[in-house]
Symmetry: C2
Subunit: 444 residues, 2 copies
Amino acid sequence: MSTRAGIVVTGTEVLSGRVTDRNGPWLSERLAERGIEVAHILVVGDRPADVLAALRFMAGEGLDLIVTSGGLGPTEDDLTAAVVGGFAGREMVLDSSLEGRIAEILRPLMARWEGLDPEAIMVSNRKQAVIPRGATVLEPVGTAPGLIVPPAEGREGPTVVVLPGPPGELQPMWDTAAETAAFRAAAGAAGDFESATVRMFGIPESEIAASLRDARAAGIDIDRMEITTCLRRGEIEVVTRYDRGQADLYRELAEHLRARHGDTIFSEDGSTVDEQVAALLDGPPQRTIAVGESCTGGLLAARLSAPAGASKRMLGGVVAYANSAKEEVVGVDPSVIERVGAVSVEVAEALADGAIERFGADVGVGITGVAGPDGGTPEKPVGTVCFSVALATGEHLTRRVHVPGDRRSVRDRSTTIAMHLVRRALRGDLEGSAVGEPAAEHRA
Amino acid sequence: MSTRAGIVVTGTEVLSGRVTDRNGPWLSERLAERGIEVAHILVVGDRPADVLAALRFMAGEGLDLIVTSGGLGPTEDDLTAAVVGGFAGREMVLDSSLEGRIAEILRPLMARWEGLDPEAIMVSNRKQAVIPRGATVLEPVGTAPGLIVPPAEGREGPTVVVLPGPPGELQPMWDTAAETAAFRAAAGAAGDFESATVRMFGIPESEIAASLRDARAAGIDIDRMEITTCLRRGEIEVVTRYDRGQADLYRELAEHLRARHGDTIFSEDGSTVDEQVAALLDGPPQRTIAVGESCTGGLLAARLSAPAGASKRMLGGVVAYANSAKEEVVGVDPSVIERVGAVSVEVAEALADGAIERFGADVGVGITGVAGPDGGTPEKPVGTVCFSVALATGEHLTRRVHVPGDRRSVRDRSTTIAMHLVRRALRGDLEGSAVGEPAAEHRA
C-alpha cells in the first residue's frame, strides 16, 4: 500500500483569504514526486485547538505522514511546535544549543534595522528554540528551525514534518527534511509510480471527457490509472498516474488521445508553452523577441521575462496603453487607428511590426483588445482581443479571438493565446487552422 | 455563539498543486463579511471517500455550515452532489425541469465548437441535473447548478452549500446562495463583529510582535480581540477583529500602534497602496503616469494597468530589458550606462525621465536591478534594485534598495517598493526618511 500524506497549512492570514497559500500546492507536488499520495490539504488558523483538530483528523484517516507549514515564527500566535509536541505525546524542552545558533543568525539582521529592542527580540526567539524532546531539528534557513516529530515511544500515528511558512525558507528546508532518517522511516517504501502529462490548447474540456469514455468503450482499461483533466490558464492538462508496470496501458491511452486531438496537443513531455517558446527562440537559429501590448498591460512582457536567463532572448516591450503611445512610442500609423479602431487586427500587426523595428528584434508580438469591464461595443464586445506575431521576414500570424471571463481572466488568458501563436509562428506554421477560442470553463 | 463554517475545495488538480485555488480564500472573505467564522479550508481530491471524510470531519468539529467548491462538472470524476446527498441523508433524484434548463444553456455553446458529439454532451450534462431530493437549486451561471443541502428531516448536522469550481461561476452564485431562505436558516444570527486593518511598509514583523506585547503591558487588554499580523508582498498587515462593543479598546490599540510606528503606517481604512496611488493620480490635480522598467520586466506596468478604468491615468511603459532598449527606446544616454552601469540610480532616473518624455506623462517611474539568479557582482549583488520617481517639475525621489528573496520575489517586491515611492512622491514627500528595505520575512 502506498504512503499517504496530509498537509496542514497554518496561518489566520491564509485562512482569512488575505494571503494566497503557495506552500500547500508546492508541498503536494514534492510529495507526489516521491510517490507519496496526498489525501488532504487543510488550512487552519493560528488557534491551537483548530491545528490539533487538523492533526487528529489526518491521523484518524490513517495517514502516514503530515507536513505542516507556518506557525514557527517569533510572535505569540505562532504555536505549531507546541501543538505538534502535544499531538505526538512529547514534552517541550529548550534546546540551548539551538537557541545559540538562532542568536547568531539574528545578530547581523538586528544590525540592519535601527531602533530595535534587543531584549524583545531575544524573548521572541528563545521561543523558537523550545522543541518536542526527541524531534529531529532542521537548521533554520531564516530564523525558524524546522522539526521532524515521530510519535512518542509506544504511540501509533503519523510522523509530522514541521516547516516554516515563508516559501523561501520552507522550500530549501524541505530538501533537507526529505534526506533525514526520520523522514525516510515515516515515508516508507513509496510506490513505483509514473506520471505523464498531455497538454492541449483550443478544445473544450467536455471533449476530453468524451474521449476518455470512448477509450473505455474501446477496451482501454483506463480505470487502472488515475486520470485527471484540468483547465489551467486556458489550456487543458490531462495528467495520468500509473504503476510503472502499466506503461503499455498508458501508451494505448496516449495513442488514443493523439488520434482524436492530435492538432491541439502541444506537449507530452511535461514542457509548458513558455518553455517551448524559450527553447524555440534559443534556436538554432537563435532569435530575439519584443512585444507591443495594449490590453495585457505588461503581462506578456512579464511572462517572457520571467524565466532565469530571459535577457538573452527578450529585448523588451512597449506597453502602449494610450493611443498616443501606440502612435508615438511604437509607431502605429494614426490613420489606421482612425479608420479601423485601436482594437483591430491591423493595429495588432502594426504593434508587432513596431516592436521589431523599435527593439531591433527578430520576432515581434502585438496585442490589442478590450479587457473590460467598460469599453465594449456591439462589434467589439468585452473580451475581443486581436493578436499578431510578426517575423523579420515580414510574415505575420494574426488572429482575432473572443476571450471569455472578467478583466483579470481576459488579460491573463490573452498572454496564453499569444504564447501559443508565438510558438506556432516560430515553428513556421503561419497558416493552418485558426487558434480559435481558448477552452471555455465547462468544468465546474 | 457565533456561526462557524468550513470550506471544502474539491479537485485533484488543486490538491496536486497544479492549479492554485482562488475559491477557498474568496469564500473565506465573503463568510467573514457576514460575521461567520471560518475554522478550516480543506482541499481534497475527486475521490468520494476523501470528500465524505472532509464533510464528516467538519460536522464532527461542530460547524454549522459547509461551503464546497468544484466537482459539479460533466466529467465522471465530478461527484460532489452525490457525496453531499449521501452525507445529508437525501436520495438523489433527476430534476427534469433543471435538465431542460441546462440543455437550453448548452445549445448555443455547442454551436460554437465544431465536431462535437451531441449525444456525449447530453449524457454528461444529464448527470448535472441529478440532485439531492429537497435541496434548493441555484440556477447555473455556466452549465452547472449549485445546491443548498440541509440535513434530511430528523437528522442533525451542518447545511452544505454546493458551488461550482470556476471562480467566474462560483462568485455570482454565492451572492444568490446567500440570499436564500435555506442559507439564512443555516447561517443563523451571526455575531456583530468589526474588522479593522492597519497596513505598514518598511519595518520588520518582529517589531509588531514587540509592540503588541508592550500594548498588553501598558494595560490594553488585547486578548479580548483577535489580532493577526502578516507579511504580504513586503508589506505588513495587522488585522483586528473585535466585537462592536469593544470599539474603544480597538481605538486604544490603534493609537498605540500610531505612536510607535506612525511613519510606516500607510493605511488604516482598508485601502491598498495600489488604490491610494490610483486615487492620488486621479487628483485633483489629475496626473498621468508612465513606466520605464528593466528587471521587473513589465510587472509594474501590469500592476498599474490592472484596475478597471486604469487607462485614464496609465499611459503605458517601456520594458527596457536590453541595454539597447534603454538607450534607443527610452533615450537613456549610453555614456551613463558606460560610466556607472545599467543598474544604478543614474539609470533609474534616466528611465523615469524617459518615461515622462516618451509618453508625455506627468509622472515617470524608472526601475533597474539584478533579479538574479545570475548577474550579481560584489558591488551589486542579486537583489540590488534602483528606483526613481520623476515628476514633470524635474524633481526625483530616488532609492537604491537590497530586495531579499529569489528572482520571483525580487521582481514582485520591487513593484511594491515602486508603488510606495510613487505614493510618497505624489504626496509631495520627496525627501524624508529612506524607504529602506522591505520587511524581511521574519515570520515563519
